[in-house]
């Protein structure tokens, strides 16, 4: 008896140890895989930064230079002194500050409508909504430009931001709908029994559970607006209203065969533009891992 009692824990321990050892191996493999892949994927950032510190000659050489012979910090100075790049970045921030709340509020409302209510014509609206993604923008561009021109909205940010306050576009709505549909309906029903209004259910029950999704939407909206080129290019004429993505082309606008390239400035401007995005991503990503979103729920 005593022997058995003695042995049981020991087998248990050895089992644990075995399991722990196997976990270590698994973890090790995961890290190795990740590190190898990360090196490959981190290279572009390194490449962007490195080339932003090179001279145009180094950049234009046939075999890319991994590192600049002498780091050209002056490239960064030129980016801000040659053009009002700081102002343009400020404008880009302003646009995202308008659009992100818009897409979160109206996108959630629309997604809520599609995910939780059964009403006449919903299917048709849903397909039409997806359809808006499928008409190539090239053919609606000119009519839209003329429309906004007649509304006297050229050289304002309205054409660039109004969509985010009107649902935020099919991609975001569809994404949010998928998330709402993954949340058990029992929760809505329970709140409904307690007499909560639909808007109360969205606000009090669903939105708190959608933090990862809303963070995703915010990041994607930021990225989209931050890099959006064609809209600001078409709708803005005044230099002081330009966005960073449009201003970037100032360094690209010289005929290639015919003059000293300014690729190094382009790369420096691009590097400056990616810094806020990296900061935002690093800050926001805890919402991806933190999310013990539904774990407390009973099935």
């Amino acid at each position: 008896m005593a022997a058995t009692i003695d042995r049981l824990p020991s087998t248990d321990i050895s089992g644990d140890a075995y399991r722990r050892g196997r976990n270590r191996v698994q973890m090790g493999i995961t890290y190795i895989l990740l590190t190898a892949a990360a090196l490959m994927f981190a290279f572009p950032l390194f490449w962007t930064v490195s080339s932003s510190l090179q001279t145009w000659k180094e950049l234009r050489s046939f075999e890319p230079h991994l590192l600049p012979a002498i780091p050209q910090w002056g490239n960064y100075v030129k980016v801000f002194s040659a053009v009002p790049f700081a102002r343009w970045m400020g404008n880009s921030f302003l646009i995202t500050a308008i659009t992100i709340p818009g897409v979160i509020i109206t996108g959630s409302l629309t997604a809520y409508s599609f995910a939780r209510f059964n009403y006449v014509g919903k299917e048709i609206w849903f397909v039409l909504m997806l359809g808006t993604m499928m008409i190539p923008t090239q053919v609606t561009l000119i009519p839209q430009y003329v429309l906004f021109f007649n509304l006297k909205l050229i050289n304002t940010y309205v054409p660039l931001t109004i969509g985010s306050w009107l649902g935020g576009g099919a991609f975001m709505i569809f994404l949010l709908r998928q998330f709402i549909m993954s949340i058990p309906r029992d929760l809505d029903e329970a709140a409904l029994m307690d007499g909560a209004s639909p808007i109360r259910i969205l606000w009090g029950v669903l939105l708190p559970l959608m933090k990862p999704a809303l963070t995703t939407v915010a990041i994607l909206q930021f990225l989209g607006d931050w890099n959006e080129f064609f809209g600001p290019f078409i709708y803005l004429n005044r230099v002081d209203l330009f966005t960073a993505a449009v201003g970037l082309r100032f360094f690209q606008n010289i005929p290639m065969e015919t003059s000293d390239p300014r690729d190094h400035l382009l790369m420096a401007a691009a590097a400056v533009m990616t810094i806020p995005v990296i900061a935002l991503f690093a800050a926001a990503q805890r919402y991806f891992i933190q999310g013990v979103v539904l774990s407390g729920l009973k099935i």
Binding site: Q26, M27, T30, L34, A38, F41, A42, P44, L45, W47, T48, F62, P64, L109, T110, S113, F114, N118, Y119, V120, E123, F126, L130, G131, T132, M133, M134, I135, P136, Q138, V139, Q144, L147, L166, G167, F171, F174, L175, Q178, F179, M181, I183, P184, R185, T215, T216, I219, L223, L248, L266, T274, V277, Q285, R286, F288, I289, G291, V293, L294, I299
Partner: protein, 314 residues
């Protein structure tokens, strides 16, 4: 929760209208749909219908459109060889690139979702390529994949491939080159973020329950993670197909549709007619045919989704 395919059956209309619960559903459904509906009707429908009208006209933007009936459509089907080749090449690109991209992003997200120390840094790193300006990554890849002097072909020759691909300069390899570049740029981007967010929606309790039953990591992956991730996979597939079929920038910047039309994808063909040749009417025709193709594909995917997409708690 019924799938869309179910909901597409409109037979129960009258039944739906009658009950008071249904009236409530209608009211709140439309109330919350309102912002989008306004945008759709005000900003999209007008220009959209205008472009549909244009598809029956000859229109160069500067003179008024002139009605030419179905001429653009007959030209497209019978008199524009590039219509078929560009469509075929687009399907090739999307057919290979999208599944690879979605599966790759998913496994990357699963790896990065592990509760390991230091993963925050990794997540940020994987996200990087999607932030690098396309001009910069084109320079990089054009050098890496250079047929004669590129490092990759040097490796391939060392490995014993005596006649390695010509990559961007070879009509057979130009699309694979773009796919490789796109994967590298896209695996850790938007799709991965969406997968990460999707993984957060999977209840911890399910994994705990599986652990108690002695499930291995592989089991958990197959029986918990993957089924519960299907809404996200579905989303990324649908959007991936839509995006993949509209592939434009990479080919526009890296290959300009060449060599010898090899990467003249449908969107590039359309763009040329719209903004290079100023055949806006014909471009509208190409656009609407394309929209029809993508909508059909998407509806097909939505129907199919009933069989494999699993909404937890429905």
């Amino acid at each position: 929760m019924a799938t869309l395919a179910n909901r597409l059956r409109l037979s129960s209309f009258s039944e739906m209208l009658n009950t008071s619960r249904q009236r409530r559903e209608n009211f709140y459904g439309y109330l919350f749909l309102l912002p989008w509906l306004l945008g759709f009707l005000g900003l999209f429908l007008g220009p959209g219908l205008f472009s549909l009208y244009l598809s029956f006209t000859k229109y160069d933007v500067l003179s008024p459109p002139t009605w030419i009936g179905l001429d653009n459509y007959t030209k497209m089907f019978f008199d524009d060889p590039l219509f078929y080749t560009s469509l075929g090449r687009t399907f090739y690109y999307a057919g290979v690139g999208v599944p690879l991209g979605v599966i790759g992003s998913m496994f990357l997200a699963i790896l990065l979702n592990a509760k390991l120390r230091g993963l925050a840094a990794y997540r940020t790193l994987f996200f990087m390529p999607s932030l690098v300006p396309i001009v910069a990554s084109v320079v990089l890849w054009k050098w890496l994949l250079h047929a004669d002097f590129g490092i990759i072909n040097q490796w391939l020759v060392d490995l014993g491939w005596s006649d390695p691909p010509g990559w961007f300069g070879d009509r057979r390899w130009a699309i694979p080159s773009l796919i490789v570049m796109g994967l590298w740029q896209g695996l850790g981007g938007t799709r991965m973020i969406i997968f990460l967010a999707g993984l957060q929606g999977i209840p911890e309790s399910l994994y705990e329950a599986a652990s108690i039953d002695g499930a291995t990591a592989l089991h958990k992956l197959r029986h918990v993670t993957l089924p519960l991730l299907t809404p996200t996979i579905f989303f990324n597939m649908v959007l991936g197909v839509i995006g993949g079929l509209q592939v434009f920038t990479a080919a526009f910047v890296a290959t300009e549709g060449g060599p010898g039309f090899a990467t003249t994808f449908y969107s590039l063909h359309l763009y040329r007619h719209a903004f290079d040749y100023w055949n806006m009417g014909y471009a509208a025709t190409l656009a609407w045919l394309f929209a029809f193709v993508i909508v059909s594909l998407t509806i097909w995917q939505l129907r199919l989704s009933r069989r494999w997409v699993f909404y937890y708690g429905s």
